[in-house]
């Protein structure tokens, strides 16, 4: 699989992330931003739970008949004069897109935000063949200039402070515009004027597709900036690149999913621009692209179909699981070493890149369940992460320390007397060390924990002992 990840070195990347003061400051805003806004939007829609139920059913039905819906989608796109390309893997997708660009002698490509093109590393492929590729989503543009990866699937530059954006713009745009570079609004205005020129010059516009509607052969993009629309409306060719799982049956099904997507992603009741694109411009149209291509990328998705990981294919990429994840909130997206971070990435990345490459990610969870609780399509993310942990263990890929610890624990757990003895002694010793402070700042073999926070000392009495004592004394 060509999904290039640095997920193997996740533990080292976590250490870097935890000591990065800028990153920690940026992540601190997550709780009051996207998370709070989602909560407010959900509270205003009494039917939210019913919609989640509907959405999961739509996705399940489509996935269970995906072959038929793919054929229907293809036929409908063709009927409107568009083209559909199927790409088994990243290399095939990149080759198809390059070929389309070459067919119109494209020198410059503008791009709307698309996680699938990040996954297949399209920009590098086109650049290697002499085609300039420009990200136009503000966050993606910032990340592209900084030669970084997006750290969030909805807010790609969530890890960057505005002072850092100002530095990046100074390095690439030269002298500051009249408005200066002190405020976020001025930085956005600067990017608007720089990127506007590129929109007008581009030969090909490449977008993702949040949904692909089988009924009508329509691709859908959901954005706030309008960059996706300028990307796909001004050049002579529009290419929409998306995963094979993004098919939905009807326009009505898209309506249901869009209701959930905007609220779950940014807490908006509606994103500013929902655009439904069907075929190229019509003979009577005064503007719009002359050619419309859809590239449907498999790249490991069909392997998830029919497996225990099929539920992951319901994902609509809203990012709510990232925003609510305590681990993501501590380390940010880049530590994951994958274009898909957080809980959804911890399930998806091993599926696409292999458990050997991404085994750390499903372990980076407290299993608190917040991700599943907010998922608009009810993906059982903790359960799926647990499946990956089991596979990692079965394949003998877990770290030696973890395997040794588990073996020790299972030895004791099967011997109740021994287990009680060890836990009683352990609890009393730790309580003694913790003393009146009630916590431990250092612990032999426990530096992985105590380097970042204190360990609360146990009460000195085990749960079982307390339970027995209360039964005896008749206390509650």
């Amino acid at each position: 699989m060509s999904l290039d990840t640095s997920s193997r070195t996740f533990p080292q990347q976590v250490r870097v992330a935890r000591t990065d003061a800028n990153l920690q400051q940026a992540l601190g805003k997550l709780k009051f931003g996207l998370t709070a806004m989602r909560g407010a939007a959900v509270a205003k829609l009494p039917e939210f739970e019913q919609l989640r139920h509907d959405a999961a059913a739509i996705r399940d039905h489509t996935l269970n008949h995906l072959d038929h819906y793919l054929l229907r989608f293809e036929a409908a796109v063709k009927a409107h004069g568009g083209h559909v390309h199927f790409a088994p893997d990243a290399a095939a997708a990149n080759a198809i897109i390059l070929e389309i660009c070459r067919s119109v002698d494209a020198r410059k490509v503008t791009k709307g935000k698309s996680m699938v093109t990040e996954e297949i590393e399209l920009n590098a492929h086109l650049e290697a063949h002499g085609i300039t590729c420009l990200e136009t989503d503000l966050g993606e543009y910032i990340v592209q200039l900084r030669k970084e990866r997006p750290s969030h699937i909805v807010a790609p530059a969530i890890h960057v402070l505005k002072e850092q954006v100002a530095e990046t713009f100074a390095a690439h745009h030269g002298a500051a515009p009249p408005g200066g570079r002190g405020e976020a609004a001025a930085l956005m205005a600067e990017a608007r004027s720089v990127i506007r020129r590129h929109f007008l010059e581009a030969d090909v516009g490449i977008t993702g597709a949040n949904f692909a509607i089988a009924e009508t052969g329509t691709t859908v993009i959901v954005t706030n900036e309008g960059n996706g629309d300028l990307t796909q409306s001004l050049p002579k060719v529009h290419i929409a690149v998306t995963g094979i799982e993004k098919i939905v049956p009807t326009l009505e099904d898209a309506s249901t999913l869009i209701r959930l997507l905007s609220r779950s992603a940014t807490g908006q009741e509606a994103s500013v621009y929902n655009t439904f694109s069907t075929g190229p411009r019509r003979p009577e149209d005064p503007d719009g692209p002359e050619a419309f291509h859809v590239v449907l990328v498999d790249n490991g998705r069909s392997r998830m179909l029919g497996s225990v990981f099929q539920d992951m294919l319901r994902c609509i990429r809203c990012g709510a699981c990232l925003n609510h994840c305590p681990v993501y909130g501590q380390v940010g997206g880049q530590a994951y070493g994958s274009v898909y971070p957080g809980p959804m990435g911890a399930v998806l990345t091993p599926s696409l890149a292999g458990i050997e490459a991404a085994g750390h990610l499903p372990n980076a969870s407290t299993f608190c369940g917040a991700c599943e609780a907010v998922c608009p399509v009810r993906i059982p993310l903790p359960k799926l992460m647990r499946h990956w942990r089991e596979r990692e263990f079965d394949a003998g890929l877990s770290p030696r320390g973890a395997r040794f610890g588990l073996a020790l624990w299972s030895f004791a757990a099967r011997r109740p007397r021994l287990y009680r003895l060890v836990s009683r002694v352990g609890a009393s010793v730790l309580a003694l060390i913790g003393g009146r402070r009630g916590y431990l700042a250092k612990l032999p073999l426990g530096r992985g924990w105590t380097a970042w926070r204190d360990l609360p000392a146990p009460a000195g009495e085990t749960f079982q002992a307390a339970y027995r004592r209360r039964r005896r004394t008749g206390a509650d």
């Binding site: 805003k29 829609l45 009494p46 019913q50 509907d54 039905h61 269970n64 008949h65 995906l66 038929h68 793919l70 229907r72 409107h80 390309h85 199927f86 088994p88 198809i96 136009t136 989503d137 503000l138 966050g139 530059a157 402070l161 976020a184 930085l187 956005m188 608007r192 929109f199 007008l200 706030n224 900036e225 309008g226 629309d229 300028l230 409306s233 001004l234 094979i244 049956p249 009807t250 009505e252 099904d253 309506s255 009741e269 509606a270 500013v272 621009y273 929902n274 655009t275 069907t278 190229p280 149209d285 005064p286 503007d287 719009g288 498999d298 069909s302 392997r303 998830m304 179909l305 497996s307």
Partner: protein
């Protein structure tokens, strides 16, 4: 590219679903869903009747950062455009790209000069019309075509959109039903527009005017608003 990748992907999907081998007839569940599309749950808020429907549309559009004016008849639109220009300190000049009903209005009398051409980058104001609006979310629905070139909605700094109150619908599902009922094939683009362009990509602060229009002004032609 082409055929080989196609058969590879389709074969992999079929195998994963346990349908390897021969071609399989389309199940009736698929055919019926596509031939008789049905709405899923539509929130109560999206099922209001007039006049509440228009009031909700206005409230939601305002909530989304658009500004709203209401006039009694289409002839009053030029004056509403003039008022918007005065308020925003813009020259009283509008590009009207579409070939529709807006062209024949008394613009001169309202002191607004107009141009009939495609919108260009740098144009201060474009005026267009929406086929309907969605009350649930205060969303305008634009159909691309000669009456409404798609670039009009994204290139100008200020976008002014005219919509009839009688055309407003409750939810987006009603839009699809309306298009099918009128036998209208989908145009190249259907654009739902809710408020002006914005981005929260710098430190999660939502700011207006990212790449599209910085301001969105909705003019509602409201027969019920006619002077008694």
């Amino acid at each position: 590219m082409g055929g080989d990748g196609r058969s590879q992907v389709l074969a992999a999907v079929q195998a994963a679903l346990g349908r390897s081998g021969e071609a399989h007839a389309e199940p009736s569940a698929v055919r019926e869903r596509l031939e008789r599309p049905r709405a899923n749950t539509v929130p109560a808020r999206g099922r209001l009747q007039q006049p509440d429907l228009t009031e909700l549309f206005v409230a939601q559009a305002l909530q989304a950062g658009a500004s709203v004016a209401r006039v009694a008849a289409i002839e009053a639109v030029p004056a509403a455009v003039a008022a918007f220009c005065a308020e925003q300190e813009l020259p009283a000049h509008a590009v009207i790209a579409g070939v529709g009903a807006l062209q024949g209005l008394p613009w001169q009398a309202a002191g607004v000069s107009t141009e009939n051409r495609l919108v260009q980058s740098g144009d201060a104001l474009a005026v267009g019309s929406a086929v309907t609006g969605i009350a649930e979310t205060g969303t305008l629905v634009m159909l691309s075509g000669p009456e409404n070139p798609v670039t009009s909605s994204f290139l100008p700094d200020n976008h002014l959109v005219v919509v009839h109150a009688r055309d407003l619908l409750g939810a987006s599902e009603d839009v699809w039903a309306m298009l099918r009922e009128r036998g209208m094939a989908l145009p190249r683009t259907v654009n739902w527009i809710t408020g002006p362009s914005r981005s929260g990509d710098i430190e999660m602060t939502m700011l207006m005017g990212a790449h599209g229009p910085i301001r969105l002004h909705v003019v509602i032609i409201d027969a019920a608003n006619e002077a008694p």
